[in-house]
Symmetry: C2
Subunit: 164 residues, 2 copies
DNA sequence: CAATCCGTTCAATAGGATTTGAAAATAGGT
DNA sequence: ACCTATTTTCAAATCCTATTGAACGGATTG
């Protein structure tokens, strides 16, 4: 491989790390995927620790996360005891799974709170509502309306990504 | 305001902080917005520092960020010198602006790299390409293809959010 | 079955991001 | 023009998260 190509590859690894870092997944994850993605041969943990100068633990964790999202798969290299990995390239599926995994629970947390708020707030309508209570009602209501719209947009975007 | 309502409000503030925290925007941002959103009257920096127990600096920065995304607007309270803020409720627009702002540059960075890669890689086709070079070509090509599709999905999702 | 090789775990640490708070800048009032 | 109230800035400190690496467990080999 020419020095030029190697340099390009390193840049991809760097940018991959920046991207995952910036979305709160840690630098290593993106770097590991980029490294494997640009490796013509399956890569073992050793290869990762050496190429990226990270610890075995970090490599192990990153690879497991990537497997969980189907970004990487284990391959069998005959005559070798080590685990080897290669990249999968259906980015749509990968991102879809990662998004569902990452954002799913947060949506549930927010949903739970909204549901509780709805349970509490409508009961106010019966009382002679103070200004403060009426205001609270309106705010919760607006939030609820947006939640429904967001849900819809979210679902249809996810489906789009899912389809080839 | 009843104790129950106050408690609910605090929970929204807490969850708001968790959400912005988890997407790498810092806890304060979400808390400040939630506080203002659930305040019937315009809020000054003092109100924020007291209610959320944060420093004046943090409050100032959070408010400015929120203004930049149109999540909050300054309002004039007559007879007061302080700046007061109230929440805007067009969440679609707010999120759209925040996304464009946050993800925009990253996309550009990645784009620049891909463009450079494309510039470098096609030139390889003329040479007698080694296996390594052919492989690199294929990988860059797949990435490029995805980029185009992602661009399309991104744009149409953004437009959906934009429209009421 | 002892020795070795790998992968995983997790407490400790390093590194980085967030927050503070004092100082500087700005705007308002007299 | 000065004084005061308020906001903004940014270096320093704090807090938190990602990463390390030693210890463990499981699996393979001779």
């Amino acid at each position: 491989m020419t020095a030029e190509l190697q340099q390009l590859r390193d840049r991809f690894i760097e940018v991959g790390g920046q991207i995952t870092q910036s979305i709160g997944l840690g630098r290593v994850l993106g770097q590991v995927f980029a490294h494997i993605y640009f490796s013509p041969t399956p890569q073992g943990l050793n290869d990762l620790t050496q190429a990226l100068e990270i610890s075995k633990g970090a490599a192990s964790m990153a690879v497991r996360q990537l497997m969980h999202w189907g970004a990487v798969q284990q391959v069998w290299v005959k005559g070798e005891r080590k685990d080897y990995y290669e990249a999968l390239t259906d980015f749509g599926s990968i991102i879809r799974r990662a998004l569902l995994d990452q954002i799913g629970q947060r949506m549930e947390t927010a949903d739970a709170l909204l549901t509780e708020a709805e349970r509490l707030v409508p009961s106010l309508q019966k009382k002679a509502t103070s200004d403060a209570e009426a205001f609270m009602q309106e705010r919760v209501h607006k939030l609820h309306a947006f939640r429904n719209r967001a849900q819809h947009i979210w679902d249809s975007s996810i489906i789009k990504l899912l389809l080839k």
